[in-house]
């Protein structure tokens, strides 16, 4: 393989890993718990900024042309972990006041406004993360430690991002199959029934929000370590919509669907078509891409609202707590969750 093909392939693989992680995080919030989190991208951004700041070193570095809070020279895996912590904490703070018991569209609106406020703050508070110019020249991890060639770094990082994606997949699958996952689906399907069974719906939602926020931050951290720059223009609220589109295409509520959606929409569609020749006025191809993404979502909502991989219908055996019912020869009366939202 020529080295330019290898560069392209490895870049796509890194994007794939990052987008899979993000989609799994959003799937936990939206697919499983039913939180329409239109501020999702804010947590990815928070992770990216955190990782950038703790790898960039003190703000006086590089001639002090960037102004930001904090600044450290932490070695590789630490920035990712720090990002996860910050993403989780931020989700806790936003979730504590933002996740009220509102109708889903009002809830979506609150979180959408949170996203807009975050963009305004990042743009205007120039001392926080260097304002509208954003952060640049983030050192690539491991490159100097192991004296990697640029191409070697590409392959190493592709491997890292896909491994992290695999880890997150296992983590989210474990949550999905645990009693916690079952309860989260109950909250999504029928909040009042969950309350009636004594579940603390607010705490459950908050938990999904925090875990999803930490996962989003990990995706952002990996991304910024790879592309080495991050600015408010990278995380406009429409980017959250891309991840929603991925889940709707792949299948919300199904982790495999989230992976496939990540491969199809953000990677397969938006990144891989980056190299089609530009025609017409500048920005025309971008606009056409967005139009197609919008139409794609509408198309899937119309024809395949469950996505390519619909959520598995879960059947639970009759409860062992009530032997009289369990003994009755009526398997069709087994309680069954209704299919996904």
């Amino acid at each position: 393989m020529s080295s330019s093909v290898q560069f392209y392939m490895t870049t796509i693989l890194v994007y794939l890993g990052v987008d899979i992680i993000a989609c799994l995080g959003l799937n936990l919030q939206f697919g499983m718990t039913g939180l329409v989190n239109f501020s999702f991208i804010v947590f990815q951004a928070a992770g990216a900024y955190t990782a950038a700041v703790v790898t960039l070193g003190p703000s006086s570095g590089n001639g002090g042309f960037q102004r930001y809070v904090g600044g450290a020279n932490w070695p590789f895996p630490l920035p990712i972990l720090a990002a996860a912590v910050v993403g989780g904490l931020l989700a806790l703070i936003i979730g504590l006041f933002g996740l009220r018991r509102l109708r889903a569209d009002y809830q979506a609106m609150v979180l959408l406004v949170v996203s807009l406020i975050a963009t305004t703050v990042a743009n205007n508070a120039s001392g926080l993360v260097n304002g509208a110019n954003g952060l640049a020249l983030v050192p690539k991890p491991l490159q100097s430690t192991f004296n990697l060639s640029p191409l070697g770094f590409q392959w190493v990082f592709a491997l890292i991002s896909l491994s992290v994606a695999a880890l997150i997949y296992l983590l989210v699958r474990r949550i999905t199959n645990s009693p916690l996952g079952r309860t989260l689906r109950a909250v999504r399907e029928n909040e009042f029934a969950a309350i009636a069974l004594g579940k603390n719906v607010a705490a459950l939602r908050l938990r999904a929000f925090v875990i999803g926020g930490a996962i989003a931050a990990v995706s952002g951290a990996l991304f910024v370590e790879f592309i080495t720059a991050w600015s408010p223009a990278s995380w406009l609220f429409t980017e959250s919509f891309v991840y929603f589109a991925a889940l709707i295409v792949g299948g919300a509520g199904n982790n495999l669907g989230a992976v496939v959606g990540a491969a199809l929409v953000p990677v397969g569609f938006l990144e891989a078509t980056r190299f089609i020749p530009q025609f017409g006025r500048p920005g025309l191809v971008d606009a056409l891409q967005w139009i197609v993404v919008g139409l794609l979502v509408a198309l899937f909502l119309w024809f395949w609202p469950q996505g390519v991989f619909p959520e598995r219908k879960r059947r639970y055996p009759p409860s062992r707590l009530r032997p009289s019912e369990a003994d009755s020869p009526a398997p069709d009366r087994a309680p069954e969750m209704s299919p996904g939202a």
Partner: protein, 295 residues
């Protein structure tokens, strides 16, 4: 502090445009229960239609009417050929939110594809200026205020004194009950989309005339203040939306003058968040409570 009074003048103009848009938004949400997040982008599309009309040599005020008509037809078509069909097909609340954002993105990017990211301005002569205390208004701005006031009066007369208005209020309060009482709610909903779209179009053209330049994202930036005004007044309540528009319009312009211009939009954000978290049913709450916005 002497920048406050002129800022109130700007606030009244912003509030007039906001009132047109917010009343349209709230009428539609109240009657149909669809949160139409594409509303801001329809506004931009209407403003561009006004631009096209003026480029064709049409008088600016006729272009404004044309913009209103386009908005009415476009909104009604969006409802008939998209939203209603998805709802009948069983798309749930989550899906409808995503769908309205998809519509917003498609409309905005069609505008971007056709007109690019550059700025366009309507050929408005601002006319002579009038001084009221230390507030300054141009003739165009006074006409915008007059159009808004007249539209609000029309909405008031329509809702209070006509059969259609009564049917609209009945549909907004309880659609099922209204249907049982013989109100043809489907027809009422179509008319509501027409009126809402018409107000949206007027607001879009008025906004373009006031800010002097428009681009493909002008309307979507205006969406949050619109929603803030509608929610503050209580969703589905046209009078509430008028009040909300006044509060948001004036307070955002005063904040821009007293604190910093970049805080103009933050005021709307903050008011919206506070209202949603503290009193999501808004000031006038009957319809919002009926719609179970607070669970």
């Amino acid at each position: 502090m002497n920048s406050v009074v002129p800022a109130i003048g700007f606030g009244i103009i912003t509030a007039s445009i906001l009132a047109l848009a917010a009343v349209g938004f709230t009428l539609q949400f109240g009657a149909t229960n669809i949160l139409n997040l594409a509303y801001g982008d329809i506004m931009t599309a209407c403003a561009f239609m006004a631009y096209v009309a003026t480029q064709a040599g049409v008088n600016i005020w006729i272009a404004l009417v044309f913009s209103g008509l386009f908005g009415a037809l476009f909104s009604a078509a969006l409802n008939r050929f998209a939203y209603v069909r998805f709802i009948r097909r069983g798309t749930q609340l989550f899906g409808m939110i995503i769908l309205s954002i998809a519509a917003s993105i498609v409309i905005q990017n069609i505008l971007l594809a056709v007109w690019g990211a550059s700025f366009y301005s309507l050929p408005v002569s601002q006319g002579r200026t009038f001084h009221v205390a230390t507030m300054i208004f141009t003739t165009t701005q006074l006409v915008i205020i007059a159009i808004a006031a007249a539209s609000m009066l029309c909405v008031h007369v329509l809702l209070k004194f006509t059969r259609l208005g009564r049917a609209m209020r009945a549909t907004a309060t309880d659609a099922a009950l209204a249907r049982d009482c013989g109100v043809s709610t489907d027809r009422v909903v179509d008319i509501v989309w027409l009126i809402s779209g018409g107000l949206c179009g007027l607001a879009g053209a008025a906004l373009a005339m006031n800010v002097t330049s428009i681009t493909a994202t002008t309307g979507s930036e205006f969406l949050i203040p619109i929603i803030a005004a509608a929610v503050l007044g209580g969703v589905g309540q046209p009078y509430g939306a008028m009040l909300g528009a006044l509060v948001i319009g004036i307070s955002s312009e005063v904040a821009a003058a007293v604190i910093a211009p970049s805080y103009k939009e933050v005021v709307a954000f903050v008011i919206l968040i506070i209202v949603l978290l503290v009193r999501p049913q808004g000031i006038f709450s009957e319809i919002a409570t009926q719609k179970e916005v607070v669970m």
